[in-house]
Each structure stands twice: as structure tokens, then as C-alpha cells.
Amino acid sequence: MGQEANVIERLRASIINLDEEEAKKATEEILSKGIDVKIAIEEGITKAAKIIGDKFERGEYFLGELLVAADIITENMNMMLSALPEGVKEKLGKVVIATVYGDIHDIGKNLLAQLLKIYGFEVYDLGRDVPSMKIVEKALEVNADIIALSSLMTTTMPAQKEVIDILKELKVRDRFKVIIGGGSTSPEWAKEIGADGWGETAWDGVKLAMKFVGKEVE
């Protein structure tokens, strides 16, 4: 048990320190020694994700660190998941995320996408300036749990409303939780357009997404 804890701790520390090579070595050791993968994911990867999220929140980590962390976590998670039987390979939930039509500003969206990946969501990032119908089509195609819509500009906020209106018109609104965010948006706007949640920051978006899949961020 001591050895197990040690290697899992190494995995966690290497992810937090953004050490790609060391993380891979630790995961290979976990797999070769037959250590319980579910425990390794929970204690190694998930806890590292939480600490990375905290560091971002405190201003110790920025987008660059999140990009690297997301790559390391994805790679190691895939290695772990390949050792699990099919039925156990579940992600927390599926999120279709986009910066809405007309808006080319995607920093907030990118931050949330990276954090969601780090936290174990399956993320379909459609990019920026995405037509509303394309977002809806993708959400239907992958059977998403959550649609996350970002808008920085005041004149592109109505495209968030448009996505929700289309969902209503297609009578599929209840199938998705829709969360919105971005510099120009506000809780009042979220209420006005009938969104399920508003996040001031990417971190708030993670908390909302976790809540919608029945998990709490500690």
C-alpha cells in the first residue's frame, strides 16, 4: 500500500508541476504494477486537477499552465482508461462549448474548456464565431449534458439567446443545461434569456458544470 501511495503521489505531483515525462513514467508504473486504476485516477489525477484549478484561481497558474496540464491529464487519463473494462470508462459528462456567432474572443471559452477537460469532462470545443444552429446540432449529435456559451461583446450576446430559443423551438430544451458567460454578460441577462446558469469566470463555469452532473467542487 505504501508503494502504491508513493507512485500515485508522484503522479499527482508531476501533473501539478507540469512534468509530462515524470507523469507518464508514474502512470506506466501504476499500470505495470497492477495498482487499482480507479484509485489512481481519483487520488492522482482528480486531486491534481483540483490543485491546478486552485492555483489558477489564486493567480499562480495561467492559460499556459492550463494548456500543458490539460494535455498531460488527457494523455495519462487515456492510458489509465485503456486499462479499464469498457463499462467503467465514464467521463463526468459531455459539454459542447463555443464562443457564439459573431464573436471572435475566445479566451474565456478556452479557459473553461481546459478546466473542464482537466476535471474529467468530455469537451467538444467548437471554437469561436460559431453559428447557433451548429452548436445545437453538435449538442444533439453527441447527446451533450451541457451547452456552454461565451460572449464577450455586447452585440453578440443575443446569439446566446438564439441558441436557447432554437432548443425551445425544437422542443429539446429540457435535454441540456445551458450555461453562459463572458465579459458582457450578467446574471440578469442569463435570467432574461432562460439560461440555467451564469458564470463570472471560467472557474464558476466548472462549478456549474460539476453541479449539473451531481458533483461538488470541494
Binding site: 500543458v68 456567432y101 461583446m153 465579459g183
Partner: protein, 462 residues
Amino acid sequence: MPVPPWRIISVLHKAETGPIVLEKDFDKRILIPNIKRVVKEYDIKYDPNNPVPSDDSLAKDVWNAAVDLFLTVGTYCTTTQRRMIFTEEELKEALWNYNDWLEIGEGKDRRIWTSRKVEDTKLPGCLFTPVGVRCSEENFIHMIMAYMQEPLADAVSTPILDKVEGGYTKTHSPFEQQGGVVHAQYARQAAVRVGRPGIAIILTGTALSAASQIASSNPIWGARPTDLRLVSVISELKIDYDLLNKTLHFNQYGGIIGTLSGPLYGVYAGIEGTTVIGVASHLQGLLVNQGHFTCYFPVHFRYFNNTSREMLWLVSLSYQALANNTKLISGSNGFAVAGPCTEMVLYESALHGLVSAVSGTAILWEIASASNKHFERTTPMEARMACETGIAAVYSKLKRSDVNEIVKKVLPKYEDKIDKAPLGKTFPECYDVKSLKPSDEYIQLYKKVKRELEDLGVCYPY
């Protein structure tokens, strides 16, 4: 001196022929590592005890780091996924030939803006702005008139028209184009109604896309060549073809172009790195966006403000770096987190104006309220407070060290409330919309805060 435009055709070719790189790789492997590198190499360190630094060598380091960053990284064109790289010689040529004065507006309402130096005794220009706040068609003209009637305003910006003919002015929809045209017409009408028909107006906020911007250019009823038009830097150090189309059109129409630069603190870098990005984005503004001036609004990524301790440091240092090393005309655009008719927004506004003016900004570009995100939650009173205090700093011949002490005394009045700032009131709640008068409550608050600042050594001329 004719710049800008600076070799505009060569710039267009750079977007077509620069080295290809995927955007994620540009961010991860080129931009972010180089931001970290220059902050370390030039040893730039934030000092919370001195929100308005007086260290000229620090400002020089920021300038050198910004030049290094821009020349190493270039500007990323998201449309072609190519890096637009510039040589040192090209940058020097553009900076040398930059026209350091600018004529805006026309007739009796014509004004001249010029570049300024650190602790310059020359007064800065003033632009009064509701920034990007949404506004109903019902209150639109009156809100603009309220801003235009402010005597310090050399120029104004206008809010975003929320709906037109019953439809949201949604970008890329015909309602956007219609909204842009109506917006420009209303703004012109407002200018006539306050007796300032030639005042320079930032146009056209409701028209985000190049197509709608072009549609609102009209010398009779719309955006005139003497008005101000804006082209954004996409955060950070990026551009796209829609923006370059705006640049081309505004230049060919004869308009005055401003670069919109709003680096986000806490995303790509910490406060030191974001300061360097901010200065570097001015270089992109000159060479790529072809801006005659810059609207500079660095903001905290969470609170969307630049009135906190570290953001004021960033604002001050950015302007010191620019003013000591260039002739660039840059407007310091305040973003307050509190809403109108609160003491907090007045303190925030005053400090932003004060710090910007003494640090060398050419234009006090004031000020977004309530983080620029709440319907009709902005008034000219916040801008009045910021501009009058910035002007007073120059009038009082305050130095950076004086302002540093004032900031240190005023910041504690609000810095622990930034994450729970009061939203205050909307324009119709604290203005008589028809007579364009602020409420007595707001006037009393404004007088109280001015008195407090006077006690700290800020001498207002009136």
C-alpha cells in the same frame, strides 16, 4: 509625418505569407513562453507598496521587454493562422514617422490631441464614454446627449443600441447593420441637439462586423472621416481578416483609427507579463491595426476592472514605458467595478484619472461602470469625476510620488470590496433623462469625494 498608415499593403501580405502555426501552438509554444522569458530577463517585478512607481529604469525595462516580445512573437492572424513578423527596422521606421498630434471632430468642435510625457504639464485630452453598455432605443439619444454636454469632453463614445425595429442588433444579422445605421444617425442628432454638431464621435459601437461598420460610414448622416473608428487587437497579440477589412476601409474613407487594446490580467500572465503585453499591443496597434491612437483598457479577467492596486500599477507603468520611449497617442480607458451613484465608483474613477494623467496618457478615456456589463448602468458623472481629477493632477503639478501617496490613502476605501462591489443605479435612476441632470444624491456624493481628494492635495481648477 504620415504614419499611420504604415506600409499597409506590406502588412496585408504579411498576413498571407508569414509562417503558419496552429493557434494552440502559437499560444502554448511561442507567446506564453516568450512572455515568461522577457519578464524574467528584464527582471520586471510588481511592488504592491508602490502602485504608482517612480522608477524610470523599471519603465525602460518594460519598454525593452515589450519590444523584444513583439519582435520575437509578432502578431497572429487567426484567419490565415500565420504569424505576421516585423523587423526592428520596420518598427523603428513606423515609430519615427508616427504623427504625434491628431485632429478630431470638425468646425468649432474640432480638437487637437497630442502625445504626452510622464508628469507632463500639458493637459491630456478627454473622451467621455459609456463603453459597451446596452441601452434602449428610448433612452439612447438622451444618454449620448448627457455625455456630449459635458464641457471637458473633446469627444464621446456611445452605448450599444440594444434593439432596433424590435430585433436584437445581433452581430452578422441584418439587424446589426440596421442598428449601426440608426445608431450613427441618433449620435449625429444628439450632437446637433447639444449644440456640438462637429464633435468627434466613436462610431459605430452597435456595428461590430466590418460590413456593418462600412454601412454606417456616411459623411452626411453617419460616421464622418472626422469621427473616430476602432479596430481591436484580439487578446493577446492577434488579428483577423474582418478587423483588417475595417482597417482598410477606415483608412480609405479617411477616418481616424483607434486601436482597441484590452489585455486580460490573469489569463496569459501575471501582472508583470500583462503589463508587457499591454505595451507590446500598442506596437501591434501601430503596425497592424494602423491606429492613429490607442484605446487602452487592460482589465482583470474576473472583475473586468482596472482600478485595483495591481491594475493601477499596470496602467501607470504601461504609460510610463510608452511616454518615455514613443510619441504614441494612447487613451487610458478606465473600467470600474462599482456602479453609478456609489462612493466606490467615484473613488475608482478618480484614481484611474489621477494615475493615468500623471503617468503620461494622452487622453483620459473615462470610464466603464459596473464592469461594463449591466443594462443602462453608466452615467457621465463617473467620467466627469475621472477626467476632472486627472486634469486636476496636472493642474496641481503632482508628481508620480505624490499620486502614489494619494492612491495608497484612497485604495483602502474600496479595495476589499472589489469582489462585492455595489451595482449602484441605472442612468434613468440617477439622471433626469429629459433635462439631462444628475440627481441631487449623486451630485452630493461627487462633491463629497472631491472634497476628500482636495484634502489629499488634488487642487481642482473649479
